[in-house]
């Protein structure tokens, strides 16, 4: 038997990167601005979406792709707000990938959609490795999770252009320092936009909504 060693040099995630690039082309062609919304379970992804939908009602057309391990609860919450939402159940899979988004897009009517929000599976590790074709990655960190999370999950926080710190109404009751979060976020990604909000009280939501509207406008301008 002959022994051989063959050079390969191939990115293991290349298949996903290709699909993500195709998704991006599709978003751009349709003039859609897309974000990939990520966080640990319970940080407030769906709550933020509900608040965002309420604030943008009548101003922007939104569509939502909901990733979830098992249930359709989140998609139902979104549909109740009058926005089209499609559910992807990953059957225990810990992240969404480019292929799932491609399939989900076929189930949506993308005509006149300005903003597509992809709510990833609740997890601060795995979704970071899989591009979906989104224009921006947005990570939510809730103050109840503790102020050490950015450095514990550096990839997720490094690649996100936006960090939303949620549940700030609970700051007086938990030992979580906003300064510590800001400092860690700064060393990981000093260009990151940080929004400090409370989905429960509505505090701090306005700057986030304005930022989103600016990005949607910029995308429309770019794509003519």
């Amino acid at each position: 038997m002959a022994q051989i060693k063959v050079p390969v040099v191939q990115n293991i995630l290349e298949a996903n990167e290709r699909l993500a690039a195709l998704n991006r082309q599709r978003f751009d062609k349709a003039g859609i601005y897309a974000i990939n919304l990520m966080s640990s379970p319970g940080a407030g992804k769906t709550s933020l979406l509900e608040k965002t939908i309420e604030a943008l009602a009548g101003r922007l057309n939104m569509a939502v792709i909901e990733g979830d391990l098992q249930t359709a609860y989140d998609a139902e919450r979104i549909q109740k707000k009058g926005v089209q939402a499609v559910q992807i159940n990953t059957d225990g899979g810990c992240h969404l990938d480019g292929n799932m988004i491609q399939i989900a897009m076929d189930a949506l009517d993308l005509t006149d959609v300005d903003l597509l929000v992809i709510e990833n599976v609740g997890n601060l590790v795995c979704p970071a490795e899989f591009n979906l074709g989104e224009h921006d990655k947005v990570t939510i960190l809730s103050v109840t999770e503790g102020d050490d999370k950015p450095l514990k999950y550096p990839l997720m926080f490094q690649i996100s252009s936006v960090l939303i710190v949620n549940k700030i109404d609970l700051l007086p009751y938990v030992s979580c320092s906003m300064d510590a979060i800001r400092k860690q976020a700064h060393q990981l990604n000093a260009t990151q936009q940080i929004f400090e909000i409370s989905c429960r009280t509505g505090e701090g939501l306005e700057p986030w909504i304005r930022w989103l509207e600016d990005r949607v406008r910029a995308q429309k301008k770019r794509m003519g």
């Binding site: 038997m1 022994q3 390969v8 293991i12 810990c94 795995c126």
Partner: protein
């Protein structure tokens, strides 16, 4: 975790390349994994072992070379090692989002046996 899907993509690459190079039994797969990649080597090994059963990659060793995180400053063009997750240029303090290395997740080479007679009996 996502090591299962990574292991699945890895196995697909190995089986494709093995077919192209007429490898009958894979012995070792050499990988580069960046220090910033969210991969646990033990978990990748475990998933690969499960998935490669009854394939020609069964029993193959995954040899993982860890690649350090190096960033590039877009202002002064300095390439610098990122220590303690600080992505700020040590020379001018400007944030760097451009990584030269550290996010690799690549197959470098595959070692194995072909069915060919190598003349050594």
């Amino acid at each position: 975790m996502h090591e299962m899907s990574i292991a699945q993509s890895l196995l697909t690459i190995i089986l494709d390349e093995s077919a192209r190079h007429r490898i009958k039994q894979v012995r070792q797969v050499n990988l580069q994994v960046g220090a910033m990649a969210a991969i646990v080597p033990e978990s990748l090994n475990f998933c690969f072992e499960l998935l490669s059963r009854d394939t020609l990659a069964e029993g193959a060793t995954l040899s993982i070379e860890e690649i350090p995180v190096v960033a590039r400053c877009r202002d002064c063009n300095l390439n610098y090692p990122v220590e303690n997750q600080v992505f700020l240029c040590p020379q001018c303090g400007v944030p760097s989002l451009e990584l030269i290395s550290g996010r690799e997740l690549s197959v470098v080479s595959i070692e194995g046996e072909t069915g060919d007679d190598d003349g050594s009996n």
